[in-house]
């Protein structure tokens, strides 16, 4: 992926637009016939997809079992709250840590691989997680999952912020999302991010200029799963439950489709577009037909056939075209002046 050369803006326009868009939803979302919970869910998927894209597009590592870590975050959050200590901060950080630890463990077994072998291993591990969630009744609640996960208040000591309403939870999650978004934006421009991307382009060369490729691949998987865990924990709060379906192969596939349709392969912002598109399609198409996934799948296929770079890619093409036509008209004008 091409980053523009030179210094990266601290708060680039797409970031500002995304946050303004999200934060403004309480003002208009019900007026257009939608509901606040939808915006919350879109944001949670944005977060998951952003973390996933760090792995897929920036480091070139195809994980097709990432839903497992989204689910692990949801379960970890639920279990910590129900069994250990019902405190939002503890449960949230705990869920991220537990998921990151699981991710780090899985990464130990896959980081020497790449390409199709990497993908297959991630699917296998994803299935293991799903199976455990389904069968380990005493801990995970089996097919019922964990019920009655509470939206505990965000306690800042001097004041406490209730997350019980969808609005409250939404504002809280937006702040967390914004922090991660800023962090990831920094990361992709940092030496670490540039090395991830170098490894994607040429592992051999990266090793021969002195990088520990295995360690970097281990690290990026761990970071990406930590973010998936955070998104999963938020999802558990949003749904007030955690169930096996959140770590199913389906969920792993959804995040891939979001990233690809949105244009994550060519743009940092692609996953944001993709997650919005996916959840909206689910709700809007889903209102008309039970087979919405079929239609969504067809859109996905058309996209992969005709514009594999996704929405962000189409946007970049359009902008390049506008720029070119500006240049040619400018030079035409200049030559016309010259002639005169």
């Amino acid at each position: 992926m091409q980053l523009s050369p030179g210094r990266a803006p601290l708060f680039p326009l797409p970031m500002v637009l995304t946050l303004v868009f999200l934060l403004s939803t309480p003002l208009w979302v019900t007026r257009v016939g939608l509901y606040q919970y939808l915006a919350l869910e879109i944001m949670i998927w944005m977060l998951f997809a952003l973390g996933y894209n760090l792995l897929l597009a920036f480091t070139g590592l195809p994980s097709f079992g990432h839903g497992a870590f989204f689910g692990a975050g949801a379960y970890a959050f639920g279990l910590l709250q129900l069994r250990v200590w019902p405190n939002l901060w503890f449960d949230l950080f705990g869920a991220v840590l537990v998921t990151a630890a699981l991710g780090a463990l899985v990464a130990l077994f896959i980081s020497h691989r790449r390409g199709i072998y990497y993908a297959l291993l991630t699917i296998a591990f994803g299935q293991v997680f799903w199976f455990v969630a389904n069968k380990w009744h005493t801990v995970t609640g089996g097919e019922d999952g964990l019920l009655n996960i509470k939206r505990l208040p965000a306690d800042f000591g001097f004041f406490s912020f209730s997350l019980v309403s969808n609005d409250g939870l939404f504002y809280f999650c937006t702040i967390v999302f914004a922090l991660v978004l800023i962090g990831l934006w920094r990361l992709i421009h940092s030496p670490l991010g540039r090395i991830f991307s170098a490894i994607k382009q040429n592992e051999t060369r990266a090793a021969f200029v002195g990088y520990n490729v295995w360690l970097y691949k281990w690290l990026v998987f761990t970071i990406s799963t930590a973010i998936a865990g955070l998104a999963g924990a938020m999802f558990a709060m949003a749904q007030q439950s955690a169930y096996p379906n959140v770590m199913s192969l389906h969920n792993s596939g959804f995040v891939v489709m979001m990233v690809l349709i949105g244009g994550g392969m060519v743009s940092f912002w692609g996953p944001l577009i993709g997650a919005t598109f996916f959840i909206l399609a689910r709700d809007l198409l889903g209102a008309y037909t039970e087979t919405w996934l079929l239609w969504y799948g067809l859109i996905f296929m058309a996209m992969v056939l005709f514009k594999p770079e996704g929405v962000a890619g189409a946007w970049q093409d359009w902008r390049a075209k506008v720029q070119r036509s500006k240049l040619t008209s400018a030079s035409a004008a200049a030559s016309a002046r010259g002639a005169a």
Binding site: A8, H189, R205
Partner: protein, 247 residues
């Protein structure tokens, strides 16, 4: 003591013996050449010297330290750098980024996830000066896979050079280049000579005989002759084989 010494290196792949008891030494500050026919084991030899393959037998010492069997990364970090015969660049990166990511300055902050590398003026300066050394000034912001073949060859050396090595291995730097490109590359290597220790595998004998202080001839996985270009011109095997025909 030589800067880089390989003693009794042997390597086989299955039944095929590729290197057989190879002993080579490269003195500090010198430009050494390795020549030999296709399939003689030259590139395998480089791969063993730079850690890509582990030798079955023998040892490799660099600056007095045993580096046999270390990984490419560990060897690279000690100051051994190499270029590749088949080009190995970061194709989506600009020329500047290719070189920048290879510098020890960036490697040292490799786990920094916060600092904006684009705002790191020292990294950019270092990288720009490397590009200048390999004649790519003005191409800083061109994507590597949009460069011409000859420029990519130069960048291949630039990436190796950016690692600030004490010894630089160049594997057929002129492969695929025409006369003009070869001449330009010869000028580039000549300019690097004496700045650091260089070892070159090369097919172009004019190139090698005009530049090298010392040449080793490898054939059938063995060193069959060694010496200065002048000595080798007298060498019977070199004279008889077409290798010496140009020299």
């Amino acid at each position: 003591m030589k800067l880089f010494e390989a003693t009794g290196l042997s390597k086989r792949f299955g039944a095929q013996v590729v290197l057989q008891d190879i002993t080579l030494a490269f003195a500090e500050g010198q430009l050494s050449g390795i020549m030999g026919p296709n399939g003689a084991g030259k590139t395998t030899c480089f791969n063993v010297l730079t850690g890509r393959y582990k030798p079955d037998r023998g040892s490799v010492r660099f600056a007095g330290e045993d580096i046999t069997g270390l990984s490419p990364r560990e060897i690279a970090c000690k100051g051994v750098s190499r270029s590749f015969q088949i080009m190995n660049l970061f194709d989506d990166y600009t020329a500047l980024d290719n070189v920048m990511v290879a510098t020890p300055h960036v490697r040292k902050q490799g786990f920094n996830a916060w600092r904006d590398l684009g705002a790191d003026s020292k990294a950019r300066q270092l990288a720009a000066s490397v590009l200048e050394r390999v004649g790519l000034q003005g191409k800083e912001n061109v994507q590597a896979n949009s460069l011409s073949y000859g420029e990519r060859r130069a960048l291949e050396i630039g990436v190796a050079l950016a690692a600030e090595p004490r010894i630089l291995f160049l594997d057929e730097p002129t492969a695929g280049l025409g006369a003009e490109g070869t001449a330009r590359l010869a000028a580039l290597v000549k300019a690097l000579k004496r700045q650091l220790t260089i070892v070159i595998i090369e097919h172009d004998m004019n190139f090698l005989f005009s530049l090298a202080d010392q040449i080793s001839v490898i054939h059938w996985g063995q060193v069959i002759a060694q010496g200065t270009p002048n000595e080798l011109r007298q060498n019977e095997w070199v004279r008889r084989s077409n290798l010496g025909a140009l020299a």
